[in-house]
């Protein structure tokens, strides 16, 4: 099942030229770029692994693309996303976030039913195979 979160996720996957152009835009806005990856695409999973520190003083997108290539080599079958952080308000806020790499076979999110206290039932998403 195709995971849709962040920008552009309803579009076809971005190719490297397009990613480069997006990163270039972020750098023009003085945003810092961070690369993160995970194998658990559950929407409630806020904590993706960081690929190195966010890059704060880049001038050119090439630096990000190099890191992204390294990350793809190390984690070919993971989700990788690029986050852009804006610090105009004094703290780093995510202004843009988009997926740049997906595993060949994406996991399914199942709707699961849970029995709770009494006869209550609740539903939630469960990442399955």
């Amino acid at each position: 099942m195709r995971i849709t979160q962040g920008c552009f996720s309803f579009l076809p996957d971005l190719d490297d030229t397009q990613i480069n152009a997006q990163v270039e835009y972020c750098l023009e806005q003085d945003w810092a770029i961070g690369i993160e990856y995970t194998d658990d695409p559950h929407p409630r999973n806020n904590y993706w692994e960081m690929w190195g520190n966010p890059m704060f003083d880049l001038r050119d997108a090439k630096g990000v693309m190099m890191e992204l290539d390294d990350c793809r080599t190390a984690n070919p079958d993971h989700y990788i996303r690029i986050n852009a952080f804006d610090n105009t308000r004094g703290w780093e806020t995510v202004r843009m976030s988009f997926i740049v790499n997906r595993p060949a076979k994406e996991p399914k999110l199942d709707l699961a039913r849970y029995d709770r206290h009494g006869r209550t039932q609740s539903y939630g998403l469960r990442a399955g195979g």
Binding site: G52, R59, A61
Partner: protein, 306 residues
């Protein structure tokens, strides 16, 4: 479209290319603002010409390789290596060789780590920052410490070499340092020498050039010499040259800083009424005369000097 698939231009007007690139402005500025340095300016002109021709060739579909532009600046202290490197970034940017045209200036400390596994990320960090611009490594010979074979500098050198080879279109590396030590550095790292196409040697300034530089520096801060002071300054430069630790333009800058100090002091102690702008911006003979350079006499004097 009835035209053939390739619509490459048949002729290219080089003079027009030159004008539109805006590089002549930069070169003129270079001529105007930097005194002396003839061979360096000549070389920069050649590089600019090469890049324009290369661009024309590319437009006609004649070449696909990016020329190597890594450079090595050698010269004595204070001969303007850093200043020229900064200009170089600007020139290369206008010629469209580097995308952003910023200069990242680093020394050994910024590249080499303190413990195992620390160096590679540090060097990569710097390289990432320099992408799209110029990486200026000052006193590059410190990267290699022949006396310690486990020195992490070697690791930084290897990463640098790799990036210089693979990312030629992304960044230009400029090494700088004193001639003799750079030569020794290249002897022990032959890979470096072969990857650097341009070796620029910065000559020492002669006395007239240094005087012109000193006037330029003062003018930049809204000061000027009076006539007597100018004659004394010429004498000062002559004497200073024969004394130890002479560092060309840097020595001149330090001398001027001290002259300003003395001028301020003189104004304080001698002023009887309000001072004028003219007085505030004139360096006169007394401010230079008291310099120790005049009294020190022989260069091998045992006294320390400032």
């Amino acid at each position: 479209m009835g035209e053939p698939a390739e619509s490459l231009p048949q002729t290219i007007d080089l003079a027009e290319e030159y004008r539109t690139s805006g590089v002549d402005e930069v070169l003129e500025e270079l001529d105007r603002e930097l005194v002396g340095l003839k061979p360096v300016k000549q070389r920069i002109r050649e590089i600019a010409a090469l890049l324009i021709v290369e661009r024309a060739r590319k437009a006609m579909g004649l070449s696909h390789e990016t020329p190597t532009l890594h450079m090595n600046f050698t010269g004595n202290p204070g001969t303007g290596k850093t200043t020229v490197a900064l200009r170089m970034a600007n020139i290369l940017h206008r010629l469209g060789y580097v995308r952003k045209g910023h200069l990242v200036s680093v020394t050994r400390d910024d590249l080499v780590g303190q413990y195992i596994g620390h160096t590679a990320p540090k060097t990569k960090e710097v390289l990432k920052r320099a992408m799209g611009g110029v990486l200026f490594i000052d006193e590059a010979y410190y990267l290699y410490r022949p006396d310690n074979e486990r020195d992490y500098g070697q690791e930084a050198i290897e990463i640098l070499l790799q990036v210089m080879e693979n990312n030629r279109e992304d960044l230009v590396v400029i090494l700088a340092g004193y001639s003799d030590r750079m030569d020794r550095f290249f002897e022990s790292n032959p890979g470096f020498r072969s990857r650097i196409a341009h070796h620029l040697d910065f000559p020492d300034y002669d006395d007239d050039e240094l005087l012109a530089i000193s006037e330029g520096m003062l003018a930049g801060q809204n000061y000027h010499f009076d006539d007597e002071a100018k004659v004394l300054m010429a004498r000062y430069i002559e004497l200073r040259r024969s004394q130890p630790h002479f560092a060309n333009a840097r020595s001149i800058r330090n001398a001027l800083d001290r002259a300003r100090l003395r001028q301020a002091n003189r104004l304080f102690s001698s002023a009887t009424g309000p001072v004028t702008a003219e007085e505030l911006s004139t360096i006169d003979a007394d401010d230079i005369k008291v310099s120790r350079v005049f009294t020190m006499g022989m260069p091998d004097s045992s006294e320390g000097q400032s």
